[in-house]
C-alpha cells in the first residue's frame, strides 16, 4: 500500500503579492509526491492557522518577499502554540537575509530557504522532518 502523502499548506502571508517563488515551489513539491494546498495571496496569519487545522496538514510553508518575515513568523509560531498544533513543521522562504536565520530558528521555524534554495533541499528536508515520520 502506498505511503500516505505528506500534506503541505503553502501560504502567502501579509500583503506581499510576489508569488512566483511560492508557485514554483508548489510545482516542485507536487512533483516530489506531496499534496500541496496553496492559499493564494494576502492571507492573515490566523487564517493560515485555521486552514492548517482544517486541512490537517503536516507542514506549513510560508513565502515572504516583503522583509516582514520576522513579525509574521513570530505571530504564526505563537498561534500554533496556542492552538496546540506546535508539532507542525514550519518552513519559510523568500527574501531573507542571512542575519535573520538564527532569529527565525530560535522562534521554532525549522526550515529556512532563501531565494535560490534548491527544490531537492526543500523536499528532502520536508521528507526527513515532517511530523510522524
Amino acid at each position: 500500500m502506498a505511503e500516505k502523502k505528506i500534506r503541505v499548506l503553502l501560504a502567502k502571508p501579509g500583503l506581499d503579492g510576489h508569488d512566483r517563488g511560492a508557485k514554483v515551489v508548489a510545482h516542485a513539491m507536487r512533483e516530489a509526491g506531496m499534496e500541496v494546498i496553496y492559499t493564494g495571496l494576502h492571507q492573515t496569519v490566523p487564517s493560515i492557522v485555521n486552514q492548517a487545522i482544517q486541512e490537517d496538514v503536516d507542514v506549513i510553508g510560508l513565502s515572504v518577499m516583503s522583509g516582514a518575515h520576522i513579525p509574521i513568523c513570530r505571530k504564526l509560531m505563537g498561534l500554533l502554540k496556542d492552538g496546540d498544533i506546535g508539532d507542525k513543521l514550519v518552513l519559510v522562504g523568500g527574501v531573507i537575509p542571512n542575519r535573520d536565520i538564527t532569529v527565525l530558528k530560535e522562534m521554532g521555524v525549522r526550515g529556512i530557504f532563501p531565494g535560490g534554495a534548491l527544490f531537492d533541499d526543500i523536499t528532502k528536508f520536508i521528507e526527513e522532518n515532517a511530523a510522524g515520520r
Partner: protein, 542 residues
C-alpha cells in the same frame, strides 16, 4: 549558458542556441537572412523618429535628449524618502520613481491591523495628503516628473499628486506624473490587487479620461510587461501581454465615446531588460514597431506622436542573485547597456543588494552611476540605434515580431486580456514556465554565474538597508493626530461624494481630488471602493 537554451558537443562548441521566445540563433548571419525574413528598410525600419519607429521615436535619439534616470525609491516615512529623493537628484538623477509600502499599495492605513509589520518596509507609508506634502517638499514638480508605483489605488495617488502640486503652487497643467496604474499585470504578476477586474479596469479608464481633460503632462497608465516577465513569461510574451493589456484599457476609454487617438499618446510602458542581450534589443525594437502598426490597424490612429511607444526600460530584478551579490553590479551594467542600445527614454536598475532587501544609499547611487558612465563616458549618446542594419539584429527583430504576434493571437482566441487574466490562463502559463526555468537553473542547464557555476561556497556579507520599527510608530501617531486635527465633517462629505460617483459610474477622479484636499486617508478612500466594488477573488490555477 545564459537564459537561452544551448546545445553543445563534447568539445564545448555550441551546436544550437534557442532563445527564450523560441527563436533559433544561427552562427552567422548574412544579407540572405534579411531576404529570407523579407526585410525592407522603409517598411521595417525607416529613419529614427519615423513610422514604424523601430529605430526609436526621436529623430536624434540620445543626441537630442539624454535618457531620464528614475531609480525606484522609497522607504520608511515620507521625510526619510524625501531625503533620499533629494540625494538622488543632487547626484544627477532626473526623475523620481516612487516606492510605496504594501499597506499603501493595498489601500490600508498605517494603523490598520492588516498593515502590521509592513509599514514603511518596501516603500514609504502614505496615509494622506499631509504625507505627500512631506514626501515632495522642495521637489520642483514642474521640472521633475514622478513615476508612482501604485496600481489598485493609482487613481487615489494621482489625485493626491494633483492636490499636493496645487498646495505647493504648481498648475495642474505643468506637473508630470506617471502612475503605474496597470491592474491586469498586478493580477498576473505582482499581486497588489484589491477590486474585481471590471471595476478595477473602470478606475483605470477614469484616470485616463481625467488626465486627457485635466492633466496634459501626465501619463495616466504605464503598462507593465515588466512584472509578467519577472513572473516567468518569455520576452515575446512580455510584449504580447503588455500590448493586449494596453488594448483592454484603450477599449474602456473608446467605449466612453472617445477616439483612441486622443488617449494613446498618454500611454507609457514599463518593460524588462533582463535576459539575452540580443533578444532584449530585438524585443524593444519589435515592440515599438508593433505598437505603432497595431494602433493604426486596430484603432485607426494617425497622429504620429500618438503612435510612439514610450517607456521605462529597466529593472532586471530576476537576473540578480543572492549568491556573490557584487556580480549584480556587472549584470546591472550589461542590462543597462541593453536598455541604451534599445533606445530607452527612461531607465531604472535593480541595485546589487536587492536580492536581500531594498537598496542602501550606496547601492542606489551605484545604479545611477552605471547609467551616467554609459551615457557620459563610453559613447552611447553618439548615434541613434547603433545596431541598425546588423544582419543578425534585423533578422531577429523580424522574427521577434512574428513570435509576439503568435502569442497575441493565443490571447485573442480566448477573448482578449481581461478574459485571459480572469480565467487564469496567463497566470497558469507564466507559473508553469517559471517552474520549468527554475528547474533548468537547478539542473545546471541554464548557467547562472556564482549560482550553479563558478560558485564560492560561502555567501559574502553585504551592507544592508536597515528597517527601523520606529517609522511605523511615528506614522501611526501622525495619522491619529491628523484624524483629530482635520475637519472631519468635510472629510465625510467628500467621502459621500466619492461613494455616489463610484455607484453612479461617474468619473471618480474629481471626487478623489476633493477627498485628498480634505485630508481623507488612503484607507478611507479605498474602503469606499471596497464597499461599492467588493474585492477580487483569485482563480485557482493549480
Amino acid at each position: 549558458m545564459g537564459v537561452a537554451t544551448y546545445i553543445k558537443d563534447e568539445k564545448d562548441a555550441i551546436q544550437e542556441v534557442v532563445l527564450q521566445s523560441g527563436i533559433k540563433v544561427k552562427p552567422v548571419y548574412t544579407p540572405e537572412d534579411l531576404d529570407r525574413v523579407g526585410f525592407d528598410y522603409r517598411k521595417d525600419l525607416a529613419d529614427p523618429g519615423e513610422f514604424p519607429f523601430t529605430r526609436g521615436i526621436h529623430p536624434l535619439g540620445f543626441r537630442s535628449r539624454n535618457w531620464t534616470t528614475r531609480q525606484y525609491t522609497g522607504f520608511g516615512t515620507p521625510e526619510e524618502t524625501n531625503e533620499r529623493f533629494k540625494l538622488m537628484i543632487s547626484h544627477g538623477q532626473t526623475g523620481l520613481n516612487v516606492a510605496f509600502d504594501l499597506p499603501t499599495q493595498m489601500g490600508y492605513d498605517s494603523d490598520d491591523p492588516m498593515a502590521e509589520g509592513e509599514v514603511g518596509r518596501v516603500g514609504m507609508a502614505i496615509d494622506s495628503l499631509r504625507d505627500f506634502e512631506m514626501a515632495f517638499k522642495d521637489i520642483q514638480l514642474n521640472r521633475i516628473g514622478s513615476g508612482l508605483t501604485i496600481n489598485a489605488v493609482a487613481s487615489i495617488m494621482l489625485a493626491m499628486y494633483e492636490a499636493v502640486a496645487e498646495k505647493f503652487g504648481y498648475k495642474k497643467t505643468e506637473i508630470s506624473a506617471t502612475p503605474q496604474n496597470d491592474i491586469l499585470k498586478e493580477i498576473v504578476g505582482r499581486g497588489a490587487w484589491i477590486y474585481p477586474v471590471e471595476p478595477a479596469v473602470r478606475l483605470i479608464g477614469d484616470t485616463i479620461e481625467y488626465a486627457m481633460k485635466e492633466l496634459p503632462r501626465c501619463n495616466p497608465v504605464s503598462v507593465a510587461g515588466y512584472h509578467i516577465r519577472e513572473s516567468g513569461c518569455t520576452p515575446a510574451q512580455e510584449i504580447s501581454y503588455a500590448l493586449m493589456i494596453a488594448f483592454a484599457y484603450i477599449d474602456n476609454v473608446v467605449a466612453r465615446g472617445y477616439k483612441a487617438e486622443d488617449c494613446v499618446g498618454r500611454f507609457s510602458f514599463n518593460l524588462n531588460i533582463y535576459g539575452n542581450l540580443w533578444e532584449t534589443v530585438a524585443k524593444f525594437r519589435a515592440a515599438r514597431k508593433l505598437w505603432a502598426r497595431l494602433l493604426r490597424e486596430r484603432y485607426d490612429v494617425q497622429d504620429k506622436k500618438a503612435l510612439f511607444l514610450r517607456g521605462i526600460f529597466g529593472g532586471g530584478g530576476s537576473g540578480m542573485t543572492k549568491q556573490q551579490p557584487e556580480n549584480n553590479i556587472m549584470r546591472g551594467a550589461y542590462y543597462a547597456l541593453g536598455a541604451a542600445l534599445s533606445g530607452a527614454q527612461t531607465t531604472a536598475l535593480c541595485s546589487f543588494d536587492e536580492a536581500y532587501t531594498i537598496p542602501t544609499e550606496r547601492a542606489a547611487l551605484l545604479s545611477l552611476r552605471t547609467f551616467q558612465i554609459l551615457m557620459d563616458e563610453i559613447g552611447l549618446r553618439d548615434t541613434v540605434d547603433p545596431l541598425a542594419g546588423s544582419y543578425f539584429i534585423e533578422t531577429l527583430t523580424k522574427e521577434m515580431e512574428e513570435k509576439i504576434l503568435e502569442e497575441m493571437q493565443k490571447v485573442e482566441k480566448i477573448g482578449g486580456m481581461v478574459e485571459a487574466v480572469s480565467s487564469g490562463y496567463v497566470q497558469r502559463e507564466v507559473s508553469r514556465q517559471a517552474y520549468e526555468f527554475e528547474k533548468k537553473i537547478q539542473d545546471g542547464n541554464v548557467t547562472k554565474v556564482g549560482v550553479n557555476k563558478y560558485t564560492e561556497g560561502v555567501d559574502m556579507e553585504v551592507e544592508l538597508h536597515e528597517h527601523n520599527e520606529e517609522w511605523a510608530r511615528l506614522q501611526i501617531d501622525r495619522l491619529k493626530e491628523l484624524k483629530r486635527d482635520r475637519d472631519n465633517k468635510a472629510v465625510n462629505e467628500s467621502l459621500k461624494g466619492l461613494e455616489k460617483a463610484a455607484r453612479e459610474k461617474t468619473n471618480v477622479m474629481p471626487y478623489l481630488v476633493d477627498c485628498c484636499k480634505a485630508y481623507a486617508t488612503v484607507g478611507e478612500m479605498s474602503n469606499v471602493f471596497r464597499d461599492v466594488f467588493g474585492e477580487y477573488v483569485e482563480p485557482s490555477i493549480f
